[in-house]
Symmetry: C2
Subunit: 486 residues, 2 copies
């Protein structure tokens, strides 16, 4: 069935017309109707029905009030120039679809690195072509980043590239309010096939070893420094669980259709003119990269600022860049604004802990998510009590996410969005991860502080999530089976 | 068979008498004869024969020149007051046994935390009783640490506790010279059963949340700060693969048999008078800690100093504290002095990545190791070429170890052994891990720098080994199957 009424009060304040429109703040959006399917009768939704291999803890704890509501709907959110916001999060964005607790949403996500190889990652795919469209007349999506629309800071372009990720959404979730927790179950994550018939059955991704990478000022070979793009290929049908490199090239100054030179990768979606680069084939020819499809960025809208750079992760999730955020994982976020405003983007085919050179294999994916609201009043005594950070649950583990600053927007004051890049530190992120894991163990497992600290030292593994997103990340992994005997 | 000649030139300079003797530097050692068995005919030793589930890469690359030599011997090195050195590494220590490349050595290792519960971890075990013996007359092992014997720095005791681990050995390996690589295959790692009949079939360990832990200045509950010991029990027969907490207590000032007060855990092996502490039972009563038996410290002797604190890890290995250093893992070390002088200690039943509170479940273990020398002249073009750091190989992974300082003894000058504790940094350790992984990929996999950097970002996981050993650690894990298609 088609639901023509899925843009309720979430869109209040924005006109009902169907065309793209430009706000003063550069937030260009349109409203569309998307297919909504009923997925079954009311009643408790099983883990199997949700596509997860396990019952989430929230579900087991009876937190699924939504199961009383009625039939689940399945929304489909394609990625088009009108359904994405590029480079920022904002509480002022209208919901593109409106979902109820328990609904499923399939969300197409597109990598912002697609223009590194137009033929393989854009051509023949109307949605992606629309997003990346850029000629002398205009852009499919003008604003890219949280910066000024007139590029008065650096002259790079609208939004200044202060934030780079293409984010699909937001999804307005009815009944979600500040203080609630949003559960996002990642039911599926599939590579987006190349739309170019020449590459049928294949999916491609790009890895940029870029100026914001950990390696950039610490190179051995000439020329120094340099930025390098490596294009990877994977099997869109997932018959093969590894990716292989196709070729690489060094970034050369690219002049965008507006005539701005980009000496480095300083603005997302700049068309790379392949006549200006030198492709080297035969790179990493013996390497098979394990494929780990996941979403680098899943976010609810932050409350602190109207426009928030998409790069630094924080309490609201965002660009957490944990490669475990793929099929079968469940994320929990503290809701910060009415409707939660869930956005998904920064899709990756593969990433290692640290994301060392600045990016993963950036690769468009389509995800299916089930979204559940846990009301504040129901949280006490559950594993979600006092949740003030993005929490992951998998079949085997709880994963907490620490950052150099737990809430950099609040902690770093008025200039937080620039200052955060000067404060990057794994040491600080470890400190935050320690505190959050202690909180999780004390609040949700009923341990006292001494018990929590001992357990952390002997049974929790801390790893380096990423060291490239300004607000660096350390995650702590707690095995569920530690408490299996409880 | 018994080999009475296994103390060849390694012991030159030390008399042939059989009693403990005291050197000016406080290095007390005796010479004993240990059982040596022949383990079979000459010929290539298979992985199965070595007890490993895989063929090590060095073996596959034909680096096992030792297989031409003849029958393997199996040495047994018990832990006694005469076979351990406590709290330091030294190139001046005589070999306790002498092994040839290819030989097996079973080494008993004893945790330096055993006196946290005398009844469970010392009583009834003659070897351990001898090591920990301490009364008004003297100590089984006087020197504990690399500091002055007269305790003129802090007054804590001989060696000052500047270094804390009980290390068994060293094993002198014939033919090992600086420039060579020592391969140490961990064939087995077994918990040491309690010697107290009251606890038959059980093994115990201690976790100290101590002043050097990451948490110590960042506590919520009173009193602050505090040190807490938690005693854990595991099944000595390994029928059960998890440990459980027995009780915990807060450290109270302990007066040692020489009359020195220890307000904090500032000297290893101080007898804890259980009449002065308050045991809390029922702690972590629902938690089952996965058992991961491993050796926190496996080291060859460093070349830079005569007496080296056992705590900070470095190029020579030492207190690397990676919980993956257990059964089935193989370590490779650059040999720094003649005979390599391999020592093993700091046994752990379990640890998480970070070893957050300062210790693991510190628990005596007995390990069996096969030791292989790879001569410098044979290394070129192999995976061991240019090895200047401790490298781990497991069935599935290569693991490189980065530290805040790759070689702190050399880099930090004359006061390196104290300065290192002021320079602890995960950020720096990540930098070192990046450089080492790049080296490993470029040297041993034939990648150029751009290939290595891209691969690191998308396929290598960096984790936090430990943040409590002065020279903090970050490890990088490279899956072997990335190159399985080569």
């Amino acid at each position: 069935m088609t639901d023509n009424n899925n843009h309720g009060n979430c869109c209040a304040g924005h006109g009902g017309h169907d065309d793209a429109h430009q706000h003063d703040d550069g937030v260009s959006r349109s409203r569309r109707n998307f297919l909504v399917q009923s997925t079954g009768a009311a009643g408790a939704l099983t883990a199997a029905a949700a596509g997860l291999p396990y019952v989430t803890t929230a579900q087991a704890e009876g937190l699924n009030g939504f199961t009383e509501v009625g039939a689940r709907k399945h929304h489909y959110l394609p990625a088009t120039r009108d359904t994405v916001h590029w480079g920022y999060f904002s509480k002022n964005l209208p919901g593109i679809v409106e979902a109820e607790s328990g609904d499923f949403v399939t969300i197409e996500t597109v990598t912002h690195h697609a223009y590194d190889d137009f033929d393989r990652m854009i051509k023949g795919d109307p949605g992606v072509e629309g997003i990346f469209h850029w000629d002398g007349e205009g852009k499919g999506v003008d604003r890219r980043g949280a910066g000024p629309m007139d590029a008065s800071l650096f002259g790079r372009g609208a939004g200044e590239g202060l934030g780079v990720h293409i984010l699909t959404g937001p999804v307005y979730i009815k009944g979600a309010e500040p203080g609630d927790v949003l559960e996002v179950r990642i039911v599926d994550a599939k590579p987006r096939p190349s739309g170019n018939p020449e590459y049928a059955g294949k999916t491609f991704g790009s890895n940029a070893a870029a100026w914001w990478g950990f390696h950039y000022d610490d190179l051995l070979e000439e020329p120094k420094p340099r930025e390098v793009i490596t294009i990877y290929e994977l099997d869109a049908r997932a018959h093969r669980n590894w990716a292989k490199a196709v070729y690489n090239y060094r970034w050369t100054t690219q002049t965008d259709p507006f005539g701005v030179d980009h000496e480095t990768i300083d603005y997302p979606g700049v068309p790379v003119d392949h006549d200006t680069i030198e492709k080297r084939h035969g790179v990493l020819e013996n390497a098979r990269i394990p494929v780990r499809p996941h979403f680098g960025a899943i976010a609810v809208a932050p409350r602190e600022e109207d426009m928030v750079d998409s790069i630094p992760p924080s309490y609201f999730g965002g660009n957490v860049d944990n490669w475990r955020m793929g099929k079968g994982a469940t994320m929990y976020y503290p809701v910060a604004v009415d409707g939660a405003l869930l956005s998904v983007g920064d899709p990756h085919a593969s990433q290692g802990d640290s994301e060392l050179c600045g990016t993963a294999i950036e690769c468009s994916l389509t995800g299916t998510f089930q979204i559940i609201v846990h009301k504040e009043a129901d949280l006490q005594g559950t594993r979600l009590e006092g949740l003030e950070y993005p929490l992951m649950e998998t079949q085997d583990d709880w994963v907490i996410h620490g950052f150099s600053y737990a809430n950099y927007l609040e902690e770093l004051g008025r200039d937080a969005q620039s200052v955060i890049y000067e404060k990057s530190s794994i040491d600080r992120a470890m400190r935050d991860a320690y505190r959050k894991m202690r909180h999780f163990l004390m609040t949700t497992q009923g341990l006292n502080e001494d018990e929590a600290i001992s357990l952390m030292s002997i049974g929790v593994d801390f790893g380096i999530t990423q060291i490239v997103d300004g607000n660096w990340g350390v995650h702590g992994i707690l095995k569920k089976n530690i408490f299996a005997g409880a």
